[in-house]
């Protein structure tokens, strides 16, 4: 029974540091804080780069509808990351597989659908330029969202910070790619999977690194 009351040193340490705390909100509500940032980035992409020339050919549903769904998917993954950052709320392996694999499949499906509606290729001789452009920009634009996500995760107590970071990176990458695909007029699967998907993978890796370094305050 001696263990049923806290040891005096522990009690004193807790008492010295005891103050009221506000419980964290649910993960979905916290991940919604990323939405304005994502929409802002999307608007920024339009203002800076404009809309792809074949937007009419692709159609609103396939362009805006799929991008909106992709943003929702990215937010879902971000929400999963913020859920994972709370002890006892760890995502099961199947959910992790669904998050990472689902994003990959989604990208593949969207690329295929867009290609069917408007098959456009990279102009001959410009492959490396297009590839670099569509890798560096989305990755760079993902970084502010990753930073925001890591900041939100840091408010909790991530027991697997690298995983939280990877999910934040993947979610952020998906949100940015949803905006980027409304600008990049190339729908050739080779280009999309080589450049856009690489940017998404790079954002995931960057998120994992940032998570391992900054997602936990200890």
């Amino acid at each position: 029974m001696i263990h049923n009351s806290p040891p005096s040193r522990l009690r004193a340490a807790v008492e010295a540091d005891l103050s009221p705390v506000t419980p964290l909100g649910p993960a979905w509500r916290r991940s919604a804080l990323v939405l304005p940032g994502g929409l802002l980035l999307m608007a920024g992409i339009h203002l800076a780069f404009g809309l792809r020339f074949d937007a009419d050919q692709i159609g609103s549903a396939a362009l805006w509808g799929l991008s909106a769904l992709q943003i929702a998917a990215g937010l879902l993954v971000l929400g999963g990351a913020l859920r994972e950052s709370v002890p006892g709320d760890s995502l099961p392996r199947s959910a992790l597989l669904a998050a990472f694999g689902g994003l990959g499949l989604w990208m593949f499906a969207v690329t295929w659908l867009t290609w069917l509606r408007s098959p456009t290729e990279v102009p001959a001789g410009s492959e490396s330029l297009y590839r670099a452009w569509c890798m560096v920009w989305p990755l760079g634009l993902s970084l502010p969202l990753i930073a925001l996500g890591i900041y939100l995760a840091r408010q909790a107590f991530a027991l697997r910070p690298y995983l939280v970071g990877a999910l934040i990176g993947a979610g952020s990458g998906a949100i940015v790619d949803a905006g980027w695909r409304t600008y990049c007029e190339v729908s050739a699967p080779g280009h999309v999977l080589e450049a856009h998907a690489t940017a998404l993978v790079a954002a995931t890796v960057a998120g994992a690194l940032a998570g391992a370094l900054f997602a936990r305050r200890d």
């Binding site: 806290p6 705390v21 419980p23």
Partner: protein
Amino acid sequence: MMRYQAGEIEGFERVYMGLAPRLRAWLARQRLDLGADVDDLLQETFLQIHRSRHTYSPERPVAPWAYAIARHVYLMDRRSRTRKQAHELHDQVEPRDPAADRVERAIEARERVGRGLAATTVRRRASLVLHHVWGFSFREIGRLLRIRPDAAKRRASRGVHDLRQELTEDEEKLR
């Protein structure tokens, strides 16, 4: 738990009383192999629970949340112990083989004697080696080197003197 989150020490005490026996038992089961101090781990778990008490959501059961933190504390402790043990193993000096020690000392002595012999003259070295190493008498050495036996004896003696002096200097250098 809600009273604890509201900043009441009684809330913490109640949480402790409710969770400590179960967490202690769980930690004890995990620690069977390494024999760490379970009470230390339990205390560290509650300090971690305190630091992250805002992450507990009141509408959820408290046990999975607390067990996840206890598991984290246990894993961190195990990792740090494993690293420490690896460092200790790395730093530990390997037990020496006495035979290898003897061989090493013999090689070292041979090298030192070689250096000492090189410091004396050829004539003195010849008499010294023939007498002290090969066991010839000074008469025999005299016949071999075509010198008088007392000259052979003198050369060997001076050779020993040179050798001793060289070894003494060598010893002082080593110190």
